[in-house]
């Protein structure tokens, strides 16, 4: 383990910049966005130099740590605020700062007409700092700080245009759903501390082999809950679609490339927990499997281009979660898909933003059509991302998704067939809805308003898109050649080179099947949407379509199962409080009040009645004494 002295700058730079922009306020309006972008770029620079420095070291010396200060020291509970940069963290650092910088550049142009651009950049920097802390923390508690930080940044950015009540509500929804997951993370940390007496990754890793399976399963389940909240996985998935209320660069950075993948990071980082509990792994696989189909189905019925992409993100993260539940080699494959997805999905979101930019912020794909000719660069970059996500060789998504499908089939027995079938089905649906999206947006007849004048975006916007498109093309091949990524991550994730398990089918057969699924999906979509697309979504549709349009009833479900009973419970508690608790207090007070009102009448001011009472009292006293002594 090497000690480093400049890891802290990765986090400190964007944090200071964010504080500067927020505290100095309007004074920084002129140069705030430039500062923020430069800071993000310099964080990327530090990341790259750290990466090359790591390449120069070998074995255990590759990982670097830095202790910033001693944070908590209570009895035997000691937590340092220290950072850990290992083979896993560096992948995320490069993704966050790299894609982050590109999106900063893009936002300069995209947000140029916005009154509050400075505040936007301050939040973006805050996000970068928090996300870097999340992936660099060397203990669960440090991770937790970053975890909450990205939640805050996400909330602030979804509700960036909070003058619209619907957007403010969307931000709140995301925050609440995340909070449920956060409870899982804090419980996991508590159980880990109770079990191992420490919350550092190294300490928990050392203790995990000796812990009971039940404890590991409990920690794993709580970590999965946390991951489900942050990564919009079943059953906490419903916030992601509404999170598209935020500006498009935010959707690209936070809700596609980085923050929503934090759940995958958490699970892969905790590989030592999941390695010890097959039940926890099974839960992970089930959640991933359900979400990947769930998200893909939602994607098929969305007319809002951003929401379609959000559904797709949910589905793709489902793939990653599924992979990370499939044992040692799965972790590395999950990270591989995460990285490639970071490129192509961020690229496509920026493409969607570019289309919106040219179309007066219209998001309804039914009002697009034929934009490809007018926005050739956007079309080209989006198209490359599209080929990557549906998994056409040799684009990035092919390598990573193909590996996951192969892994799923090799899970063994019935489980393998079910998982493999689900991933194949997911691939086919993905191909369908992405083709639908691209056909409705870029080809066919124009369906937009007379007022709209689609035009190609400025260079500051298309340049990041182009860079991401190159990433969508090349990264898969890069990561896969000679298993470079799997080997690189092996010391952290204990992953082996070969795809494990008994081979159900040869890799080539799996690839062929996956490709067949993609061709079927694309074929159906082209067949359905090549013709005239109605400007208004047709009303006469099957029950199934209706349900899918309503996001598979996820909101209705949450309302019926969680919200209404919750409201009833609160109402009941309010009533109990009013009638039982307050009522008791009021009853006691009432008894005293009425008694004293009655007693007050004795004090009538007439001497003779006082005298009578005295006489009566004396008589009563004498009578009592007489009775007692009798």
């Amino acid at each position: 383990m090497t000690t480093s002295s400049h890891l802290v700058y990765l986090i400190a730079l964007p944090l200071i910049s964010a504080a500067l922009l927020l505290l100095l306020g309007r004074k920084t309006d002129k140069w705030g966005h430039i500062l923020a972008t430069l800071v993000s770029a310099s964080a990327f620079g530090i990341g790259v130099s750290e990466f090359f420095a790591m390449q120069g070291r070998t074995g255990d010396a590759r990982a670097a740590t830095q202790k910033i200060f001693s944070w908590i020291s209570v009895g035997t509970f000691k937590v340092d605020a220290s950072l850990l940069l290992d083979q896993l963290s560096i992948c995320f650092v490069l993704l966050i700062t790299g894609v982050g910088t590109l999106i900063h550049i893009y936002s300069i142009a995209y947000m140029s007409h916005d009154h509050d651009r400075r505040r936007f950049f301050a939040y973006l920097n805050l996000f970068i700092a928090a996300m870097l802390l999340l992936v660099l923390g060397d203990s669960y508690l440090n991770l937790y700080v970053g975890w909450e930080g990205v939640g805050l940044a996400s909330y602030l950015l979804i509700g960036f245009w909070n003058q619209k009540p619907a957007y403010a509500t969307a931000a709140k929804k995301a925050f609440v759903a995340n909070r449920v997951g956060d409870v899982g993370l804090s419980l996991a940390i508590m159980i880990a501390f109770a079990q191992f007496g420490t919350v550092t990754f190294a300490g928990v890793k050392a203790g995990a082999p000796h812990a009971s399976t039940a404890a590991l399963t409990a920690i794993g389940a709580m970590l999965l809950l946390a991951a489900a909240g942050k990564s919009a996985q079943f059953p906490l998935q419903s916030w992601l679609g509404d999170a598209m209320a935020g500006p498009t660069p935010v959707s690209a950075l936070i809700h596609a490339a980085t923050m929503v993948t934090a759940g995958v990071y958490l699970i892969t980082r905790s590989n030592f927990i999941f390695d010890g509990s097959s039940t926890a792994r099974l839960m992970v696989v089930i959640v991933g499997g359900i979400t990947l189909i769930f998200g893909a189905l939602i994607g098929t019925a969305k007319d809002d281009i951003k929401k379609a992409l959000a559904a797709s993100t949910m589905s793709q993260i489902g793939y990653m979660i599924l992979a990370s539940g499939l044992g040692p080699v799965g972790y590395a494959i999950a990270i591989m898909h995460l990285l490639t997805h970071g490129f192509f999905k961020a690229g496509m979101f920026l493409g969607a933003g570019s289309v919106m930019h040219g179309m007066d912020d219209e998001v309804n794909m039914r009002r697009y059509g034929g934009i490809g000719k007018l926005m050739p660069i956007t079309f080209a970059t989006f198209g490359l991302g599209y080929l990557a996500i549906i998994g056409v060789p040799p684009f990035a998504g092919f390598y990573s998704k193909d590996k996951i499908i192969e892994l799923a089939f090799n899970a063994g027995g019935t489980k393998g067939i079910i998982l493999g079938g689900a991933t194949l089905l997911g691939a086919a649906i993905t191909a369908f809805y992405m083709t639908r999206l691209i056909v409705m947006t870029f080809t066919g007849a124009k369906r937009w308003d007379e007022k709209a004048h689609p035009h190609e975006s400025p260079i500051l916007m298309w340049l990041p898109m182009a860079v991401l498109a190159v990433g969508s093309v090349a990264t898969g091949f890069l990561f896969n050649s000679g298993n470079s990524l799997v080997n690189w991550l092996a010391p952290v994730l204990n992953s082996r080179n070969e795809v494990g398990g008994e081979e159900l089918m040869k890799p080539i057969v799996v690839s062929a099947l996956a490709l067949l699924a993609v061709i079927i999906g694309v074929g159906i979509a082209v067949g359905m949407y090549r013709k005239e697309v109605p400007v208004v979504a047709p009303e006469k549709v099957s029950v199934f379509t209706r349900i899918v349009r309503k996001d598979l009833m996820q909101d209705a479900f949450n309302e019926a199962v969680l919200m209404r009973p919750g409201q009833k419970l609160t109402e009941g508690l309010v009533k109990t409080d009013y009638f039982a608790i307050d009522g008791l207090v009021r009853l006691v007070a009432g008894i005293f009040a009425s008694t004293s009102t009655a007693l007050r009448k004795i004090q009538n001011g007439y001497v003779r009645s006082y005298a009578l009472i005295m006489v009566g009292g004396a008589l009563a006293l004498i009578a009592t004494i007489w009775v007692v002594t009798l």
Partner: protein
Amino acid sequence: MDLSNYIYLSVILFTIGAIGVVVRRNAIVVFMCIELMLNAANLAFVTFARINGNLDGQVASFFTMVVAACEVVVGLAIIVTIYRSRRSASVDDASLLKR
């Protein structure tokens, strides 16, 4: 002569005094009734002293007489003052404490 007759007389006098305090309105009469009760008590004290054959009761009756003398002075002064300011010696009219 049976000493218990003195006790009966004392009880009768005390009762008359007590009833007088409660039923009469005139402050002077109320006052006289109080005196009557004190003297009834004195009579009882003296009688008990005689019955028990010691002087304790007689000493107590002297105390009572002294206290009664003081009480008469203060009480009559109050009654005269009230009569002067209110032109009435009725105890029911002097019920200002109620308000």
